[in-house]
Subunit: 399 residues, 2 copies
């Protein structure tokens, strides 16, 4: 067959995570691999009432097309919620409903990137974002991080010496994959830098509401005085991912471009899903639901931290997330987390090797561990098995 | 603000239809503008039972992430349905669930088009597809059509003399916007030509099942021996659009590329929407539902045809669709359908001027009329008012 694909596909591969997830679907596997919420917390009973109410009250509207921007009452609620939770000052008109926040990542690439343009991101960063943006053939420059996230001096150095930087992609709260959070002074410094260079920023914030301890920190969007921050939010982690509903919040000129992308991409997000999520917030208490999620994940994080402290050799480092879904494990140099993943899978334990979180590759001794999706006993058992494999690897390595 | 957008946005504008639809939302407007199904036919009562059943039986699964390919039982049903209705020979593995068939149009551009590559399409063609594909900066070459759709001799001429043709986009059944259908001999000739040139074909088939009269004609996909046809289907017109569920059916090598696009675009279609549509087909009779839709639209088409015959001046031509949602009106040369639309809107009648359906522009005397969304009395009244405006325009023109 003579079919020729576009050049952009040369660098595009399927997500390692989603391929891995297929392997981990055997029920006996203890999986730290995905980024899945705890399904036992989903408001199943509530959604039965909600879906009947939506169909009863506005069935024909719910099953019809709606506007590209999204269902107006839901956009209103999202703006209000952002203003309450994140101290932003936004209106319903600043919100575009997307199919998960993932769709906002795709649109960001589409809207800003010509072939060869530069995207700056944290090193490591969320592979799903990197993969979405790769379709637009950018160069990625990774900004070094420490335990407090992106290092601002490094960011400044790169901005001062690099042409064609079109966009900066960051996850300041409970980052995927590292679990790290930027402290206040970094946020302020970051805004100072981007205000100077006037580069658009994608603030990906799926976990911001899931803080277990430590103090609230303002979102970049709430510190944005020049309309440079494009905020991506989602219901996937504070409600449930099955509806595929997220949103983009941005300045009008930018949001208009995202809206054009949305028309081309799929016309609009699901009408009925939007109305159901909106109705849930009318009929039930989303804040109370988020508290339940936080209590559960806090405990699971604690259990995983304790198990890693007890079981992992001292030469293994890991982050202590204050919220979110992930911790990041740094193995001693020389241990290949990708190879080790196969051995763990033989013991029915899965995680995501860190390599794919570095857009330019080259780092082999890290892994991302998710703690939101497994019950506590399985977390303990899974970390034990993983520790055994790590010890074997170290022994092998010492030879 | 120094924010720079990607070059691809220079040619991208919001859809004229979706902007127009906002104007037509006043309840007094008789709208032939959208492509919306009749909401009074939506299975609202059935979906109440369906949504409760899905949540009761598999609530946690329905609200969680699922695989990118889509919910396996739904893919199975789609493959079976295609094989029954369209005489194809496809399997569940050949199906990727998308967010409406619109998403398949976006992916087609992403998968095949480098800047400057050529897309061939019918003249006129569906503007939503053209807009989605424009993001990938193609050149469009429009193949002339007559009352039987694309003229194959013209297609051959273009293929013989044009470099970089990467894709052919067609709607052989009840085309949007023209309502035209390709007869059998054109389908066979088309397949002969594309087999010779081995160019991938996007067969967009949202209305295929909505045939009111005339004989069944096989889809291009069912005639495809070389895996060149990429079939786009949707539940929007045979069920309802609010769930945003469509599908792409293609050869494995191609479908794999679409799958990679899906991961980047939004990870997956809504889990719960997929399970609900699947469950509807288990609990109720989709075929019977489609028959109801056909009976209603057939009548509305008849009413619109009769009204146009009676009211429109003889110099106005229009197509007689055998199915689908649209008829295409050709006004006498010199009448500008875009200008006329404003006058019609003053009389509370809306349609879509044809210009945007020509990717290279230049045709001003055509309009697309939808008959699926308005009750019969409004169709008669709307055509009457439109006829008045046309007569005024002709009188003006004769001066």
């Amino acid at each position: 067959m003579a079919v020729k694909f576009a050049k952009r596909l040369d660098n595009l591969e399927g997500s390692a995570i989603r391929e891995l997830l297929k392997l981990t679907q055997r029920p006996e596997v203890i999986s730290f691999a995905g980024g899945m919420p705890a399904p036992e917390l989903f408001p199943v009973e509530e959604m039965k009432k909600v879906s009947v109410a939506v169909l009863e009250e506005q069935g024909q509207v719910a099953l019809q097309y709606t506007t590209t921007e999204g269902y107006a009452p839901l956009r209103e609620k999202i703006a209000d919620r952002m203003n309450t939770k994140l101290k932003t000052n936004v209106k319903a008109d600043d919100i575009l409903i997307t199919s998960g926040s993932q769709q906002g990542l795709d649109f960001a690439g589409k809207v800003f990137i010509d072939e060869g343009d530069v995207i700056l991101c944290e090193s490591p960063s969320y592979m799903g974002a990197l993969n979405a943006m790769k379709a637009y053939q950018p160069k990625f420059i990774e900004i070094p991080t420490d335990n407090d996230g992106m290092i601002m001096e490094e960011l400044e150095k790169v901005l001062a010496t690099t042409d064609r930087v079109k966009m900066i992609y960051v996850i300041p709260d409970f980052q995927n994959p590292s679990g790290r959070t930027w402290p206040m002074e970094r946020r302020l410094k970051f805004m100072e830098i981007i205000n100077k260079y006037e580069i658009p920023v994608i603030e990906d914030n799926p976990y911001g509401e899931l803080r277990f301890d430590g103090e609230f920190l303002p979102s970049l969007k709430s510190l944005d005085t020049k309309g440079l921050v494009i905020f991506l939010g989602t219901f996937s982690k504070i409600f449930c991912p099955g509806y595929r509903l997220g949103w983009t919040c941005a300045a009008p000129e930018i949001l208009n471009k995202f809206n054009i992308c949305k028309q081309g991409a799929d016309l609009q997000a699901s009408t009925i899903s939007q109305m159901e999520v909106n109705k849930f917030m009318d009929m039930f208490d989303l804040d109370a639901h988020v508290e339940k999620i936080k209590a559960c994940y806090r405990k699971r994080r604690d259990v995983m931290m304790k198990a890693m402290e007890e079981e992992f050799p001292d030469s293994v480092e890991f982050t202590h997330p204050q919220g979110g879904l992930f911790t990041w494990v740094i193995l001693p140099e020389g241990i290949n987390a990708g190879e080790m993943a196969k051995k763990c899978l033989e013991k029915d334990v899965a995680y995501v090797p860190g390599e794919s979180f570095y857009p330019n590759g080259g780092v082999y001794n890290t892994c991302r561990l998710n703690y939101s999706n497994m019950p506590e006993d399985k977390i303990v058992e899974g970390i034990k098995r993983m520790a055994e494999v790590i010890k074997e690897e170290l022994a092998e390595h010492a030879k």
